[in-house]
């Protein structure tokens, strides 16, 4: 907050002082980084790549990652790079990737690029994630790779399982970031593990939700709306009703396009929890 406030004050002072020639780019830079915190710098011989996230860290599950590339020589931020990335988990026996989006420029004039990565498992003492970033600037190709910290999340935010169709799926919690006692807009990503390196979003599935409070008799909430795929962002959207603060377990069922349950159980008196679920606490 202090950081932001200082910037805002600085910009206000600037705009006051140079009101005739105030530069839009200054304002934009401040806006670009609003609510973002840098958590990593990856350096190669030519550039410094700064990685940002809301929380200032990565964790197991769905992560929104912003980055910008600074030219070491000029100190300027590159505005016209084309970027791809490849997160890799180095396990003792094998190496695999995870679901990820492309990396897109946020605004034409800005310096910030953004994408999402779903880390389905955390690092541990012997196994780790690294992130390889390949980018081209004005036809010249560059690359940078670094180990990144992906600790386990405190609450379950992602679940990996084999469906009844024998395919492997990853379901990741995206929204709400800041749950409220209200009807929240809920967003989830559903990915299929086609290979060790390919995890595309799946289409036309359905995610049923049943939020419960295990610490309070496993009671639920009314008027939830099961999640269906949005045509625009391809994620699954629905409504999550939370009637009080506390720890909620969102029990899930994944249904395919023909409404066949691939994984997860409906909650009854005898089945207090589904085998796939998320947790949120607030």
């Amino acid at each position: 907050m202090k950081f932001q406030l200082k910037n805002i004050l600085a910009v206000m002072a600037l705009t006051l002082a140079f009101s005739s020639c105030s530069s839009d780019s200054d304002t934009l830079i401040v806006d670009e980084l609003a609510e973002l915190t840098k958590f990593k710098e990856i350096i190669n011989s030519t550039h410094t790549i700064e990685l940002y996230a809301h929380k200032g860290a990565l964790e197991q599950g769905h992560n929104e990652i912003s980055l910008r590339i600074k030219d070491k020589a000029s100190g300027d931020y590159v505005k016209n790079a084309t970027i791809t990335w490849m997160p890799l988990m180095h396990m003792t026996m094998m190496t695999h990737s995870c679901p990820k989006s492309g990396v897109e420029k946020i605004t034409a004039d800005g310096t910030l690029y953004k994408g999402t990565i779903v880390f389905q498992m955390p690092q541990n003492a012997t196994e780790y994630w690294d992130l390889k970033i390949d980018y081209t600037i004005n036809g010249a190709a560059y690359t940078a790779t670094s180990v990144i910290d992906v600790p386990a999340s405190a609450k379950q935010r992602v679940t990996t399982f084999t469906g009844s169709d024998t395919a492997k799926y990853i379901v990741a919690y995206v929204e709400p970031h800041n749950p409220k006692v209200a009807v929240n807009d809920m967003m989830v990503g559903v990915y299929k593990m086609e290979s060790m390196m390919s995890f595309p979003l799946v289409d036309n599935f359905k995610v049923k939700i049943d939020p419960r409070m295990p610490s309070m008799g496993n009671h639920g909430s009314p008027n939830n709306v099961d999640l269906t795929q949005s045509t625009s962002d391809k994620l699954y959207h629905g409504k999550l009703a939370l009637t009080m603060t506390g720890l909620w377990k969102i029990n899930l069922q994944l249904l395919n396009a023909s409404d066949i349950v691939l994984k997860g159980e409906a909650i009854t008196d005898l089945v207090p929890a589904s085998s796939i679920y998320f947790e949120i606490e607030f």
Binding site: V181, S215, M216, N223, M244, G246
Partner: protein
């Protein structure tokens, strides 16, 4: 029953509205008609209200069977009043078989709202008998001058010395009850002269668990409370006076054996400032304006219960600011009252649950989402003396009632159930009533018709997961409820001679949009062990009927007999029984009095509660009868007056429970009491 038949003609509600219009027309035609009839002002029109005298502090003992009884025990002497009991403290008055939402209980015209979502703190629990001089019970719409009501009103009147030259007056009250070991200690210090008076009193009660019949202890039925109050008036002109009044009441460690939780604190501060003006030689005889403020804090407590599935805090707060300005006047044969009244109430209640894992986040919700209620009403009443025997009375009122949810979290919580609901809701409430009374040579009768509306209560409109331990459902308020509308017919007939006094009075209510909780499918209750969720909604209509017969007979100077018989019924439009409808109930007492000694034996009982409502969680309760006895003696030692009263209640130590005992908790077994008062 014969008296029912005699009133049926007034109960035809298909033509109710037409009749009402008829009465309005009658009113306007009556003005020129009866205005010519010059009647002296000294004759005051009779009203249908019932007054229970509690007594001036100095004579507390003179009226009652048990002088230091709780306010509730005084009130239930009326055939129109019953009490829902959740323990031995803070009983909820029901008037004409209707609970708090449908009735109006005021303290000297002031609106006070309990701060408990589970109705553990009716207004009557925040006053003491020592604060009060009388309670005026008015049935139906005639009780609508302090706000909207369906069943009627109870106005608790503060006691005051008035501008009499009585000087200092000190009284000490003390009492003991063997059952529950209740210790009562009170004092009153009053001073009055012809320009100034101040009345102060203090009362302290401390009771342990009581035992039901057969010596069965009722756990968690203890309570402790104290109450201080002061009223002071100053006459700064011979016809203008100012009065300030204050009540502070604090109850701690109150057990509610019928509920899953107790109360650690119920605290009220009730204040007012009144200006009264008695114009000389004017049509306006009295003009009274009062501003008031009261604040209530209520904390439920489950820490003393041996087994709770999850520990929770449930505090509630209710603050009310209000005013009224009431003028009474006489114009020819018209005795009129105009009452402009407003209040602004803020009701907040919350619930915090503590998970067994202390690292987990607390579970928090608003059970009353900071609901602000603004009420502005105008009430006009005119009593017209037709002649020396009969009078007509009309009243109309209109009010604006608005609710706003001031807390966003609370609003968004309710929007889970009502996605399109707005934070505010405005309602117009109307009421009209007309009554005719006749009184000649001890024979009197009267009848009336009325129509009135009420807004849903805070719980009914905005409650969020309120657990009702009676039917074991979680209740959700419904902000989209329509106003409840009551059409009402009432009648009474009485006869009085020097020795005999009899009166039967009846009220019949046809209530449309009758608000009740309806179970919903596929919704999971929050409370551990609850059966489901009920959402407040409206029945097409319900009908409630109440009739009571009072008889008194004075055999001679020494012997007096009094009896009361009450019959009620209540059904919804599908002929299903409503809850808390009294079965046939009766009481009779025989009193012997000679000089300063008096003795009384009384019996009271219920028939079987056969018309119980399974749907609302009621069970059949058997009939019962209990026997009470009391004796008193007054004497003087030097200049101090002493008064001793001793007695026994439920002498036969019956184990019993009644229709209005929450979750069928048993009532007190045998109880010996001793009240000693002395005044200087």
């Amino acid at each position: 029953m014969y008296w029912q038949q005699s009133y049926w003609p007034f109960c035809n509600f298909s033509i109710m509205k037409k009749k009402l219009y008829g009465f309005v027309l009658l009113y306007f035609t009556s003005i020129p008609l009866f205005a010519q009839d010059q009647v002296t002002d000294t004759v005051v029109p009779k009203t249908l209200k019932e007054v229970i005298v509690i007594g001036k502090k100095t004579q507390l003992y003179q009226q009652q069977n048990k002088p230091l009884a709780a306010v509730e025990e005084y009130l239930q002497q009326s055939g129109k009043v019953g009490m829902i009991k959740r323990g031995s403290y803070a009983w909820e008055p029901i008037l004409n078989n209707m609970t708090t939402e449908r009735t109006l209980i005021t303290i000297d015209g002031m609106r006070v709202f309990g701060a408990c979502t589970d109705k553990m703190d009716p207004i009557t629990s925040y006053v003491e008998i020592s604060n009060l001089s009388e309670a005026t019970i008015t049935s139906g719409q005639q009780g609508g001058n302090h706000g909207a009501t369906i069943g009627g009103s109870i106005d608790l009147k503060r006691s005051r010395s008035g501008f009499v030259n009585s000087g200092w007056d000190v009284l000490i009250n003390s009492g003991f009850e063997s059952n529950s070991n209740q210790k009562i200690l009170g004092s009153a210090v009053n001073y009055a002269n012809n320009r100034f008076y101040i009345d102060t009193d203090f009362m302290y009660r401390d009771a342990e668990n009581y035992t039901a019949g057969n010596n069965q202890e009722v756990l968690f039925s203890q309570f402790r409370k104290f109450n201080i109050s002061a009223t002071s008036g100053f006459s700064f002109d011979e016809n203008k006076m100012l009065e300030a009044s204050l009540i502070y009441d604090k109850a701690t460690d109150v057990g509610y054996p019928a509920l899953p939780m107790d109360v650690s604190l119920a605290e009220a501060l009730i204040t007012s400032l009144k200006f009264e003006y008695v114009p000389k030689a004017s049509n306006i005889k009295n003009w009274e304006t009062k501003i008031y403020y009261n604040t209530i804090t209520h904390r439920m407590d489950d820490t003393k219960r041996p087994f709770v599935p999850i520990h929770m805090d449930m505090p509630g707060w209710s603050d009310t600011y209000g005013f009224y300005s009431k003028a009474k006047g006489v114009f020819k044969s018209h005795h009129f009252t105009v009452d402009l009244n407003s209040f602004y109430n803020r009701s907040v209640a919350e619930m915090t649950m503590y998970p067994s894992d202390p690292n987990e986040s607390l579970m928090f919700m608003f059970t009353w989402p900071d609901v602000r209620t603004l009420y502005n009403g105008l009430f006009v009443e005119d009593s017209i003396l037709l002649n020396s025997q009969s009078s007509l009375k009309f009243s109309v009122s209109a009010a604006n009632h608005s609710n706003v949810i001031a807390n966003d979290l609370g609003l968004e919580s309710l929007q889970i159930f009502y996605p399109t609901m707005k934070a505010s809701k405005n309602r117009i409430l109307k009421s009209i009533s007309s009554n005719y009374t006749y009184n000649k040579n001890g024979f009197q009768y009267g009848f009336g018709l009325a129509y009135g509306e009420r807004a849903p209560s805070v719980s009914e409109g905005y409650g969020f997961y309120l657990f009702n331990s009676f039917d074991r459902y979680d209740y959700i308020g419904n902000p989209e409820l329509r106003n409840e509308k009551s059409s009402e017919a009432n009648a009474f007939i009485g006869f009085r001679t020097k020795k005999l006094s009899t009166k039967i009075s009846s009220s019949y209510f046809h209530i449309s949009n009758y608000i009740v909780g309806k179970p919903t499918e596929n919704m999971i209750p929050m409370t551990i062990g609850a059966s489901g969720i009920k959402i407040y909604s409206a029945l097409n209509y319900a009908t409630i009927f109440n009739t009571d017969l009072d008889i008194e007979y004075q055999f001679d100077m020494n012997f007096r007999w009094a009896g009361q018989l009450v019959y009620s019924y209540g059904q919804d439009y599908e002929k299903e029984n409503l809850p808390f409808i009294s079965p046939l109930r009766y009481s009779a007492s025989f009193q012997y009095k000679v000089e300063k000694f008096s003795s009384e034996i009384s019996v009271q009982g219920n028939a079987v509660h056969a018309q119980y409502s399974l749907f609302y969680g009621e069970k059949r309760t058997p009939d019962y009868a209990i026997l009470n006895f009391a004796s008193s003696y007054a004497f003087q030692v030097d200049h101090s007056k002493w008064y001793v009263k001793a007695g026994a209640e439920n002498i036969l130590d019956q184990y019993y429970t009644t229709f209005s005992d929450w979750n069928a908790i048993p009532r007190k077994g045998i109880n010996f009491f001793l009240n000693i008062s002395f005044g200087l």
